[in-house]
Amino acid sequence: MQPPYFEYHNPVKILCGENALDRLPSELRQLAASRPMLLTDAVLQKLGLSNTLLDIMDAEGCPPACTFTDIPVDSSLSVVNRIAALYREKNCDSLLALGGGSVIDTAKGVHLVLSGNTDDILSLSGMENIPRGRHIPFIVVPTTAGTGSECTGVAVIRNEEQAVKMEFLSPFVAPDAAVLDPRMTLRLPPRATAATGMDALCHAIEACSCLQKNPLSDAHATASMRLVAQHLLPAVENGADATHRLCMALAATLAGIAFSNSMVGAVHAIGHALGGVCHLPHADVMAVLLPHVMRFNLPRAEHHYAELLPFLVGWEKAADTPKDERARAAIRCVENLTARLHELCGLPVRLRDMLVREGDFPRVAQTAINDGALIVNPASVSAAQVEQILHQAY
């Protein structure tokens, strides 16, 4: 059913396919940029991925004016402010982010600070309140297939002081272009491939079931789900296959566009809280929580989940499933996928596998109910109910 009112926004040009990365210098030129600052992390440098990009940029005569590789896995507001100061000091004119969710979200934070002409990203917190600032050319190259951050209007950054993950929501936080090149994910280990793929699936499922869902976000989310259903297991089993890698990269981007226009829900609210309080990796937590939250939401979201079944198991199997069984079948499909990934590469299926203490749950619950993602969850969730979900997932 069409909502009475919705908005859709996706300003990101997507360069997707074989050797897409080779076109990045030309894209930079089109954006009138000549002194890019490259943001990446030490692991990618070690893996040689940043060298692949640097070689291309050197060959095209546009090497970065400055490279920052000191981005931690769990980036923070102070890292963002520090990078923005360095950008100004080195007189850069554009941003280039090569990495996973943390690098991209950090870069989006830096982009916000620079375009908003401020020194402190905290001054920009809010929702739809940041006017379009100065244009800073900004290109993103994801090296995982999961966050979809390359196409979303949100930056999630850790506030160390409050031990929470903060969301900065603005349509102007998204980059100008995203480059999806299978070379960038070929060496992603099976365990990380599985976890990030489940994060993408979680984005797609939450996008399809939350209060802000709309026909355009549904179109992207269901396309993403179909790709995940077909390519996640093969990508984990055979990581060197460029087709599976590219399909997963595209699935993540599609899910990113979807949830950027419809939001996520309780899985992410609780996941952000677990990340903020217990420092658990986002994608792992998503994989563990997704089926539990789907069961919790079932009474309110049954018709939405039922509609997802064909995209998860194919039309024939879905048609063979009785109508009132389809929502539960969709949840079982997610559980089976997680279980299979657990067998293949050790993806955690319970919170206890992740060294989290049950004693932290009350604090996690209190943090989760103040997360913006909870407001559009199909069912209302109290702190006590968050604790209940956490115990079920433990």
Partner: protein
């Protein structure tokens, strides 16, 4: 004329919601818990559209004090984009969550503070509006810990004695 009437209604209902939340502090444990969980000194500005009524309050650790003017700083500002949306929201025809889902709000400040406010407004609405209205807009209704009539009586006594 319609806009003027809507302005009068919104002005009254904002005062009513504020007074209800203040009274719920001693009538409802959930409301009390929410209020006591607010950071001391937190200010809210709730604006219902351009040139339309607004409510400015500050949590001083003991009560939600009404401010005469819009706070200049350290404030969570929630602006409803159009007065028509504000009217729909405060006549119990749409929840804050649905308005958020329709991109009806602009927020300056921390999202966490908006979530705290949303829970308080939802709770106040459950007392102020009959259940057949709130059941339509909220996925779940909280168990009311006092009679709505008692709340109304206390709110009107508060208005009579110039407390609000």
């Amino acid at each position: 004329m319609r806009r003027t009437l809507q302005k009068i209604y919104l002005s009254a209902v904002l005062r009513l919601v504020h007074a209800a939340i203040c009274e719920l502090q001693s009538l409802d444990k959930a409301a009390e818990g929410e209020l006591l969980g607010l950071p001391v000194g937190l200010r809210y500005a709730i604006c219902t559209g351009h040139g339309a009524p607004a409510l400015f309050v500050e949590w001083d650790g003991a009560g939600l004090r009404r401010l005469r003017e819009e706070p200049a700083q350290k404030c969570c500002r929630v602006r409803i984009k159009t007065m028509a949306d504000a009217f729909i929201l405060f006549t119990g025809r749409m929840s804050l969550a649905h308005l958020y889902a329709r991109h009806g709000l602009v927020v300056a400040g921390e999202i966490a503070d908006v979530m705290r406010l949303a829970r308080l407004v939802n709770l106040a609405e459950c007392y102020l509006f009959p259940a057949f209205i709130t059941r339509r807009i909220l996925p779940e209704l909280p168990r009311l810990q006092a009679s709505p009539l008692r709340l109304y009586a206390r709110v009107f006594f508060g208005f009579l004695t110039n407390r609000y």
